[in-house]
Amino acid sequence: MTMLTPNAPFSTGQNRAGQDRAGQNRSGPDRAPSPTPPMRRIPDRTDAPLTALLKSWEALLLLLAAAIFTANSFASPYFLDVWNLSDATFNFTEKAIVALALAFVILAGEIDISVAGIIALSSTLMGATAAAGQPMPVVVGVGLLTGLACGAVNGLLVTGLELPSIVATIGTMSLFRGLAYGILGDGAYTRYPEGFAYFGQGYVWEWLSFEVTVFLGLALLAGFLLHRTSLGRAVRAIGHNPTAAAFSGLKVRRIKFWLFAATGLAAGVASVMLTSRLGSTRPSIATGWELEIVTMVVLGGVAITGGVGTIPGVVLAALVMGLLTFGLGLLNVSGIIMSIVVGVMLIAVIALPVLARKLSNRMRRTTP
């Protein structure tokens, strides 16, 4: 890489002092290796709808999911069994439910690292309620409300007190899980009221589990909200440029607050399901899930810088991760090796389009 020659701003003779963004665009995509990604050129003509669909991130993910599905069915004779496929979904639905909500937060240019901490605290409080002899609806209510309250705390820290969300939620992550540890210590809650097991282990119809039904319902709801309502457009606008969004009359803080609250509630839902499925609570429940859930969202094509992403992408990413880990599990591959695969996939799937674009740019330049 050659040293940069800063002659662009001076040759124009204009005083651009203090105008960060203008300067950034000016320095061009190839000249300034700044840490922020370069601006993409706006094409003269957009692709035809079908071409655009085929070139989209979702098409890539669908292809990936299909490939993994096929590979799995060849790799194990048990894979295509309908009950087996139903079992496979338990692998990712809880995480995917949180990912749906977190997608909105990331789309709005923020992040929430505390989701797994919320799951732990919510599960612990549910266990404590159950241990106090409360009936099933109260236990579930406590779980959901805990999630909502934790999400509201995050929302207040980020919007009311104006903390950067990554640091605020790293703090609340320790706080929430820490409270779970403080309450439970090295103990465990294992007694839950009758009927509670349904949420994580029940089936709505034949092989269609309750978890998957809820996930599909929430995915439809999230997709509708993001792609068909003004709220969805507002979230994207905020992620693209919060200042412009605020000046165009969007209630940036209020929307962001509710996005965090909704993510907390989604973590509460996931906590009810996970606790019900495991039938026990330890403070270490759902450890490391925050990273898996963020991976799911990012793999789904949601830009970590905000503004770009779709719900079908997130759902497909959940499917890809779920199928991959389950298929590898059938092949007796241990969980930690699966995590390598997921890590490689995360980087590769994001790096490949960038590298392809760089390569095609270079080829275009050498052959005029």
Binding site: M1, P35, V167, I170, S174, G185, P242, I336, A351
Partner: protein
């Protein structure tokens, strides 16, 4: 500005005061805690966190983040321990250097992906976090390297005392000194601040922003590699899950120390004080009779409080020209 004024406004001074007050409070309950000997052992216990926090500071200064440090530590620690177990004849200093070099290579992978491919650092290091830790599993096959498998010299180095302090503490002191000098006085160190403060201005000033970010990741990786050796030899065991989740403690130390997550603001002294603050709390809780299970939530609350104070202090400087209720505070992330 008078010296007193400047002192009052300096984050490091405030943090020192808060730390001293904390020590005073602990001393009320447990006078033995503030005995010099005990304080020295608290420092030694925190040494690894201090070293990692300094590496992380370099990265955060450039508006990036390195979530992979703890996984890097686990992988290099495991590799070093296995090499020592298989070939005890290799001199220990060489192994330490190899660990540091390996850590730096892993850091360089992060740096290259951020620099050359232009991926967001949080995504890259989230990916390499799982890859590095997974590789530690692949490398070891899930086996532990136990105390008796490592050579006595390998385990003894951090414990050898010099002037009353173990080598581990001296190493931390050396890293602090070098980093303080390097960050504040070397062109590479100043570039970290320049790139984080305003990348565009830095580029116009002739600084290669991408290369600077790359260097920051190399420093973070190098120190993580060094800590890989230190961790394994200090606890005399290597397994896949060592230091799991420690990356968040490291970031917390930086944040408490006033290193701004939006880049360009922070100092080595701050990071060290932030790490010490966490170290004192961790060591003091059992002494004052608080169940260690509460430690996590207490450090969480402290992180939030520290960020709150720091963002307030930062905002007063006012980079925003046109102030609007809804937009304040988002400028930094934009």
């Amino acid at each position: 500005m008078t010296l007193l004024n400047r002192l009052l406004k300096s984050r490091e001074a405030l943090l020192s005061v808060a730390g001293t007050a904390l020590l005073g409070l602990i001393a009320l309950r447990a006078p033995g805690f503030v005995a010099p000997g005990n304080l020295a052992s608290v420092f030694t216990d925190t040494a690894i966190l201090i070293i990692l926090a300094i590496g992380q500071t370099a990265v955060i200064l450039t508006r990036s983040i390195d979530l992979s440090v703890a996984a890097n530590l686990a992988l290099t620690g495991m590799a070093g321990a296995m090499l020592n177990a298989a070939h005890p004849e290799i001199p220990v200093p060489l192994l330490v250097l190899a660990s540091a070099a390996m850590g730096m290579a892993l850091g360089a992978v992060n740096g290259l992906l951020v620099w050359k491919v232009g991926l967001p650092s949080i995504v890259v290091t989230l990916g390499t976090l799982t890859i590095f830790r997974g590789s530690a599993f692949v490398l070891s096959g899930g086996e532990w390297v136990n105390t008796f498998q490592m050579s006595p010299a390998y385990l003894a180095l951090p414990r050898e005392t010099l002037l009353g302090l173990p080598m581990l503490a001296w190493l931390a002191v050396a890293v602090i000194g070098l980093a303080a000098l390097g960050f504040a006085r070397s062109p590479v160190g100043r570039a970290l601040y320049a790139v984080g403060g305003n990348p565009v201005a830095a580029v116009y000033a002739g600084i290669d922003a991408g290369r600077t970010v790359f260097r920051a990741f190399c420093v973070s990786g190098l120190l993580a590699g060094l800590c890989g050796y230190l961790w394994v030899s200090r606890f005399a065991v290597a397994y896949v899950d060592i230091a799991a989740g420690f990356e968040l403690d490291v970031i917390a130390a930086c944040v408490i120390g006033g290193v701004s997550i939006s880049g360009g603001v922070g100092s080595v002294a701050g990071a060290v004080l932030g790490a010490l603050f966490l170290g004192v709390i961790k060591n003091a809780l059992p002494v004052v009779g608080v169940s260690p299970f509460w430690q996590m939530s207490i450090s969480g609350a402290i992180i939030i409080a520290a960020v709150l104070l720091n963002t307030r202090a930062e905002r007063r400087k006012g980079r925003i020209i046109l102030r609007h209720r809804a937009t304040t505070g988002q400028e930094a992330g934009a």
